[in-house]
């Protein structure tokens, strides 16, 4: 008898929180559905308005195209390939250039940023030069790179690198500067050499700074690759834009933009995924 007398109230009190949790979860879900629905509605409204204005001739369909034509263009590219070859090949080409430039720019930015953040002597010497280089509008280097490195991928990689390098560099530099002095002191007393302090204290604490810049900088890498292709290339989405423009195919320009946006979003998603895995030690987040 007595066990029952004990269990009953336990069940009773234990029942209320799950109930509340349940209703809260339901409210959260409802909110999510509502937001998604509203988002879709906004998209449909914008596309619908565009289509309508274009079809009715309020805006010039030749210049502004319309969503249905853009969609048709994408479908044609996917099914029949582009004038330059298959669509996949163009995407891959651009992605390859952007990725290569991004990796090189990030590596250079992180290494130099951490080095200058750790070695004040180096920072004092190179600091002004980096500031000057940063103030140059680097996108104008893209045509120069095409002249230097030709129509192949190298010139696009180079423009991606110069765009990626600076934000990553400044973040890594700042991250290395802002390391908790207590942690460095503790590591040194525990027996860490300067190299170990850099590798195992400075770099881990700078990673959140670095990751912030990685998000922005992948977008920059894509821009670098696209602009390079636009100026002169044999393959790639940037060339697709240039060619569509050359043949007065507005739908083609927009379709290429849509494809680019999808590529950028997928890359962003992958980066966020990697970030979650790396930052398991961070207090934020809902994980256990």
């Amino acid at each position: 008898m007595s066990p029952e007398a004990i269990t009953t109230p336990v069940v009773d009190t234990a029942k209320t929180p799950p109930d509340r949790a349940y209703s809260r979860a339901r409210a959260a879900r409802r909110r999510k559905v509502l937001i998604t629905a509203a988002r879709v509605l906004v998209l449909v409204a914008v596309l619908g308005l565009w289509e309508l204005l274009s079809r009715s001739g309020t805006i010039d369909p030749f210049n502004f195209s319309m969503p249905s034509k853009i969609w048709d263009q994408i479908v044609t590219w996917v099914t029949h390939g582009t004038a330059l070859g298959s669509l996949g090949e163009q995407i891959w080409y651009t992605l390859y250039e952007a990725l290569l430039g991004w990796v090189a720019g990030v590596l250079a930015g992180v290494v130099l940023g951490i080095a200058l953040g750790r070695i004040a002597f180096l920072a004092d010497i190179l600091g002004p030069y980096i500031k000057v280089l940063n103030s140059i509008p680097r996108i104008v280097l893209a045509p120069i790179f095409v002249i230097w490195f030709g129509l192949g991928p190298a010139s696009k990689v180079a423009s991606a690198v110069v765009l990626v390098f600076f934000p990553v560099f400044f973040n890594a530099f700042q991250g290395a500067r802002e390391v908790d002095r207590n942690l460095v002191a503790n590591a040194r007393v525990l027996g860490a050499s300067d190299r170990r302090v850099t590798l195992q204290v400075v770099i881990p604490s700078a990673t959140s700074w670095i990751f912030t810049s990685l998000h922005v900088s992948f977008g920059f890498a894509l821009i670098g690759a696209i602009v390079g292709e636009y100026i002169g290339a044999t393959k790639g989405i940037g060339l697709l834009v240039a060619q569509s423009q050359g043949t007065f195919n507005a739908a083609g320009v927009y379709a290429a933009m849509v494809i680019l946006a999808v590529v950028a979003l997928v890359a962003e998603g992958l980066l966020t995924f990697a970030e979650r895995r790396i930052f398991r030690w961070k207090p934020s987040g809902s994980e256990n």
């Binding site: 207590n182 503790n186 007393v189 525990l190 027996g191 604490s205 961070k282």
Partner: protein, 271 residues
């Protein structure tokens, strides 16, 4: 030979002056003379902000004295050596390392093989009562648990010289008593020399061979009390001895005056 007869720690006329953000100079430690013998347990008490932590950073080699000499085991201190363990006043666990990996850090930094480092770290986690928490990250621990991780991470290196800056102030009373006894046991076993900074005079007397009272900042040694309570001690029981209370009263008279000076200075600043 002289290395064996020389004291564990020796500060001679040590001063430390900091440059403040406003460009002025602030002397945290002035003309400090302090000698800690081999295997000696010295507690340091003094009013807040007087320069106790600064003194420890001088001994550890993390900071250089502006004037004077600091030597450890007869050798002048040049940078951080491998003899010293330092439990910091502030939280200094590595947030991106798990508890186990935090405790392994010291041995790993010193080139101990991974398996051996892990074994030693586990043994220490066991002693501080955190064996079940080894794969947590510091942000998932309480303040007291984090402090115990820091203690384990320091002890696992078997330091000859142990600098402890208010190591137990974040702990609850029970754990504190437990850790104090643990510390005494460890110290008696290894023969390490300890400098233990605390605001708790009872704790200072219960643990130490000598209690050093610092003046209001800039810190110098005001008075040096030898604690002649018999060892081995248990911190909870030693507090109840009449001799303990006698010593307490004597030291408090000296310390209380410095605390009052510091407080009056603070009030004068506000006024």
């Amino acid at each position: 030979m002289s290395a064996n007869t020389s004291p564990a720690i020796e500060l001679r006329g040590a001063s430390k002056t900091f440059r403040t953000p406003s460009g002025g100079l602030h002397t945290a430690v002035r003309d400090l003379d302090l000698t800690v013998g081999r295997g000696e347990f010295v507690a340091v008490v003094g009013p807040t902000g007087c320069g106790k932590s600064t003194t420890l950073t001088l001994v550890s080699g993390l900071e250089e004295p502006t004037q004077g000499e600091v030597s450890v085991a007869g050798e002048p201190v040049r940078g951080v050596g491998d003899k010293v363990g330092f439990v910091f006043q502030q939280d200094a666990t590595f947030p991106w390392r798990t508890v186990l990996s935090n405790v392994m850090a010291g041995p790993r930094f010193r080139g101990v093989p991974k398996a051996e480092a892990k074994r030693r770290a586990r043994a220490w986690l066991d002693r501080v009562g955190l064996a079940a928490f080894e794969d947590r990250y510091p942000h998932q621990l309480s303040g007291g648990q984090r402090k115990r991780v820091a203690l384990a991470a320091t002890f696992v290196n078997d330091p000859e010289i142990l600098l402890m800056d208010e190591p137990f102030s974040a702990l609850d009373v029970q754990t504190r008593a437990l850790m104090s006894d643990e510390l005494l046991e460890l110290w008696e076993g290894t023969g390490a020399s300890v400098v233990f900074v605390t605001h708790d005079l009872e704790e200072a007397i219960a643990l130490a061979d000598r209690v050093v009272v610092m003046t209001a900042g800039p810190a110098t040694v005001k008075q040096d009390f030898r604690i002649d309570l018999p060892r081995p001690r248990k911190v909870e029981s030693v507090r109840l001895e009449p001799r303990f209370i006698e010593i307490y009263r004597e030291i408090w008279e000296s310390l209380g005056e410095e605390v009052r000076i510091t407080r009056e200075r603070g009030a004068a600043h506000v006024a």
